[in-house]
């Protein structure tokens, strides 16, 4: 259990004394993803994680956009809002900014968050409203049946790109760090333990947390993350990011280069004290950004875990403080005084 758990991230949200189980968070709706979809694993992980928070179930809200992953709220017995394409961060911002007593989650995908909703995502991150954004990245458009997405690799052959896609993909972690996000993490649908450990930190973080979840679409982009699931190679390519720990995989390590950059080298070739120790709380995001660039080209080495976790003023708290300050300065608003407040004159 982390030092942040039950910390200020959840401090404004009412707790329950009732013991909750996974069952409490299952709605009565039939889950309608394709058999074998990575979304099932994420749903099960979230449902079994939520009881741990001990929050009143009615104070949890899942907001989503459009796409396969955005059906998620229907399957959780909390409050839910399945909205429109790309707009979930905006809708959730209004909700969270006006209701600091809610645990507000945004469920989105790579198309939803990074194409049509890109603008809302970056502004939510810079504003730092209290939101947990789970970005299911399957690197394909699923619900519209298989067009390339803003995270698909260049040259992707799809129905809309029979000769290969031309545009360079976004790296969601780099994008989030560039947008000044205060919490940025990456995890994997099939690793429930890791996924839940990231969620634990994300919920403990007050502000916007962005969690990229690599998620397999077995229909339109199967095995997109195969190297990370293959027991033969996964432990070599996955660089575990743990605050205060050296950044290593089974066989590799991250070190600083002479010119101040970072690089991945065989672990056997460096002494322990040369290995970069992960500092997720570092105010300056440049090292986190450099770490996010290590999986270029994709899957040679993939940092996984929490890239950045810093304290920054939280929008909904600041907004509430301004209201209190206004009342302190001017007294609670009085309608009669407001109307009479200008230059008035009396007739008769």
């Amino acid at each position: 259990m982390s030092e942040h758990i039950n910390g200020k991230g959840l401090s404004l949200i009412p707790k329950t004394d009732v013991k909750q189980t996974l069952k409490d968070f299952k709605s009565d709706q039939e889950v309608r993803w394709c058999p074998g979809c990575g979304d099932y694993a994420i749903l099960a992980a979230v449902q079994s994680f939520l009881p741990e928070l001990g929050l009143r179930r009615e104070n949890i809200v899942f907001v989503s956009g459009i796409g396969c992953s955005s059906r998620f709220p229907y399957y959780l017995d909390t409050y839910g809002f399945h909205s429109i394409h790309g707009r979930a961060p905006a809708i959730a911002t209004g909700l969270a900014a006006s209701r600091p007593d809610l645990s507000v989650w945004v469920i989105t995908g790579d198309g939803d968050a990074l194409s049509i909703g890109g603008n809302h995502l970056i502004h939510a991150l810079r504003r730092n409203v209290n939101l947990n954004i789970l970005l299911f990245n399957n690197r394909i458009y699923g619900l519209t049946k298989g067009q390339y997405s803003p995270t698909s690799e260049v040259g992707k052959i799809t129905k809309s790109t029979p000769m290969g896609s031309l545009d360079k993909p976004f790296n969601p972690i780099s994008l989030a760090l560039g947008a000044e996000a205060s919490f940025v993490a990456r995890t994997l649908d099939s690793d429930r333990k890791h996924l839940q450990s990231v969620l634990r930190e994300a919920t403990a973080h007050r502000g916007t947390s962005l969690v990229e979840i690599y998620q397999n679409c077995n229909i339109f982009n199967d095995n997109a993350f195969e190297p990370m699931k293959d027991p033969e190679v996964r432990d070599d390519i996955m660089l575990r990011l743990e605050h205060g720990q050296p950044i290593v995989s089974a066989s590799k390590a991250v070190v600083r280069t002479a010119d101040g950059d970072i690089e991945v080298v065989p672990r056997a070739e460096v002494s322990e004290d040369r290995i970069l120790v992960h500092d997720a709380h570092r105010p300056d995001p440049s090292v986190a950004f450099a770490l996010s660039r290590l999986d270029e080209p994709a899957f040679q080495h993939v940092p996984i875990g929490i890239f950045r976790q810093v304290d920054r003023p939280v929008y909904d708290v600041l907004m509430a403080e301004q209201l209190e300050e206004a009342v302190a300065q001017q007294g609670r608003g009085d309608l009669g005084d407001l109307l009479m407040g200008g230059d008035t004159w009396r007739i008769g």
Binding site: P14, S27, Q29, R56, R57, E58, N59, I60, V61, V63, I66, P73, Y74, D77, T78, Y79, G80, F81, H82, S83, I84, R87, A90, I91, A92, T93, G94, L95, A96, A97, S98, R99, D101, L102, N119, H120, H123, M319, Q322, L323, E325, A326, V327, Q329, Q330, G331, R332, G333, L335, G336, L338, L339, M340, G342, D343, T344, W345, R346, I347, G348
Partner: protein, 614 residues
């Protein structure tokens, strides 16, 4: 020298100058003095979208028209009695509106060869006799101002800046306006720059004294205070009244106000105004774009707030998808459209009524939305409360239409008693409404057809809503054909069944043949035109629609009561199209889209033509 004082019943003044000349401020101050004096008044600011268009050019001309009277008036007036022209461009841009015999006060200092050339005057109109049919007062406003401020530690350029205050002082003398408020205003505005404050006050007083002493003005004018209904009044613009209406609606509905908005002309002042009143618990959120503005408002509404978004036409276009989401999730939401000239960017600072069909139909699917329109600047207050009443009672987005003319125009407003404002509060749903403690988010109130509003934090009512079609009652996803048909018809029936008062007709006779119908900001010009017709012995009835959807139940009956129905609109006949289709009445449309309100005289002529064609 004792000057003659002449009594007038009403005056129309237009201040015109470069957009950097401070004409809007000058107009505002003259208006404040006039309001304080107790005249009825109506104003029409008219300015370019550019903050500072090239100096001295026609596109850079900014003007402010004020109509004030000793009786109640309805419009900012058709043709000015006085034009204050701060430069040749201002003269050229406005002389066409000025009737022969009107006064022109021209700032001779700016009538230089270069400035004349800029606007295509071959000769100086102040000297070549071309203004012989007007009463020209050639006054070197700039140099008189500079001279008056000689004792101040100011650059010549800074001194010149005060020429609008000199002009204001002169006009204040000419029309016997009180001066105390303007002096106090200048002291406050320049509190941090006392030298500038003193200079502006000196310029203002010099302008007054100049009027008193110069022979150029032999007469000054008095317009007695108007006999208006008793009460406390203040002068108010449409945008400010609309903001106050939203605050009042928040208080009267007991709902915290959440505004999600993106700056856009001419609606931004509502955002500014609401941002100043956080002591009412108002959250104002300047979003990254129009879509996020309405999205955040809808998210807040899901959380139990009074969600509001304010915008103009281009913003409404961007918000359409979210408004559709509000229609299907049946949450209260207010979408304020301060209409401006379109299409596309159009003319941002000019007025139009061209968004009516977009407000009604500008969404995918069968997506009915109530539409409420304000009819005068101060009426924006009442219209806002009515829009919120409908939104909250029926759990629906409501389009509230204002326009650029109402937004920036102002008039005296008789303040309502807070105790007289309607209670528009509704309870959140807190208990299950189905069998065995189940909660059915789409089980409706049998009378209003509104669904329950159960907000997060309410135990036992956890539920999911969204844009996908919902099963009647449970709200679960449904693709069932008959259910969809039922839900489409039910949503339509809910909006059609909203309680809307009957359309009132102002008709003085039994056998009037012609009805003039209007909606929105045309109320003032239509009513003024109707007065003219009646004054001349003509017979005409008038009715004005506040509710565009649903229409008052008696609308068809009213239309059929008259031989002829005339409908002036500042669009190409949008409401006429609807009324013809729905009631099979052959409406006579009168349409102008010049970015300006109708003139009373113009409409009187149109009405007379319709009467004469009987």
């Amino acid at each position: 020298m004792t000057k003659q004082v002449q009594q007038l019943d009403r005056v129309i003044i237009r201040f015109a100058g470069d957009s950097g000349d401070g004409m809007q401020l000058t107009g505002d101050r003259f208006t404040a003095g006039t309001a304080e004096f107790g005249n009825d008044l109506s104003t029409l600011p008219n300015f370019p979208a550019e903050i500072r268009a090239p100096a001295g050019t026609l596109p850079g001309v900014s003007s402010f028209q004020l109509h004030f009277a000793d009786h109640d008036i309805l419009t900012p007036g058709d043709a000015p009695n006085v034009l204050v022209a701060m430069n040749p461009a201002a003269l050229k841009a406005n002389i066409g509106d000025l009737p022969r015999g009107a006064d022109i006060i021209a700032n001779t200092d700016e009538f230089t060869k270069r400035n004349l050339q800029k606007v295509g005057y071959a000769a100086n109109p102040l000297e070549d006799g071309s203004l012989a049919e007007w009463r020209l007062h050639a006054v070197p406003l700039t140099s008189l101002t500079v001279k008056a401020l000689e004792g101040f530690d100011l650059s010549k350029k800074d001194a010149e800046r005060s020429k609008n205050m000199f002009a204001l002082g002169l006009l204040s003398w000419l029309y016997h306006r009180p001066t105390e408020h303007t002096i106090k205003f200048l002291e406050q505005k320049f509190a941090k720059k006392p030298e500038i404050a003193k200079a502006n006050i000196a310029a203002f007083q010099s302008g007054w004294n100049f009027g008193e002493t110069t022979e150029s003005f032999s007469v000054s004018y008095e317009v007695k205070p108007a006999k208006l209904p008793p009460g406390v009044y203040r002068n108010i613009s449409g945008n400010q009244a609309l903001a106050y209406g939203l605050i009042a609606a928040s208080v009267q509905s007991k709902l915290p106000l959440f505004l999600g908005s993106y700056p856009i002309t001419p609606a931004s002042d509502i955002l500014h105004e609401l941002s100043r009143h956080k002591q009412f618990g108002i959250r104002t959120f300047q979003a990254e774009d129009e879509i996020a503005g309405v999205g955040a408002a809808l998210g807040a509404a899901f959380g139990g707030a009074l969600g509001v978004t304010t915008t103009s036409g281009p913003g409404v276009a961007l918000k359409a998808e979210t408004v559709g989401l509000a229609v299907t999730t049946e949450l209260p939401l207010i979408v304020v459209d301060v209409q401006r000239a379109g299409p596309s960017t159009g003319m941002p600072t000019k007025t139009e009524q061209t968004d009516l069909l977009m407000a009604l139909y500008g969404r995918n699917g069968e997506s009915p939305v109530p539409v409420v329109a304000a009819m005068s600047p101060s009426d924006c207050f009442d219209a806002a409360i009515e829009a919120v009443r409908i939104a909250v009672k029926y759990r629906t987005p409501v389009m509230l239409l204002s326009d650029g003319y109402l937004a920036n125009g102002s008039e005296p407003w008789r303040l309502p008693e807070v105790a007289d404002l309607p209670d528009i509060s509704q309870e959140y749903t807190t208990a299950p409404n189905g069998d065995d403690g189940a909660f059915l988010p789409y089980k409706r109130d049998t009378e209003t057809l509104a669904r329950p509003w159960a907000i997060p934090g309410t135990a036992g009512l956890e539920h999911r809503i969204g844009g996908i079609e919902k099963a009647d009652g449970t709200g679960n996803i449904s693709y069932d054909p008959d259910n969809h048909d039922l839900m489409v018809r039910t949503r339509a029936a809910k909006i059609a069944g909203i309680d809307v008062p009957d359309l009132e007709v102002d008709d003085l006779d039994d056998d009037t043949k012609v009805l003039v119908l209007g909606w929105g900001s045309t109320y003032g010009p239509i009513a003024a035109a109707v007065r003219r017709i009646r004054k001349d012995g003509g017979r005409v009835a008038q009715a004005h629609l506040r509710h565009l959807n649903p229409l008052p139940a008696n609308t068809g009956e009213v239309l059929k009561r008259y031989d002829k129905v005339l409908l002036p609109e500042i669009n190409l006949g949008q409401l006429a199209l609807l009324l013809r289709g729905r009631f099979l009445v052959d409406i006579i449309s009168y349409n102008r889209v010049r970015g300006l309100p109708f003139k009373a005289e113009e409409l009187a002529g149109v009405i007379q033509d319709v009467i004469d064609s009987e």
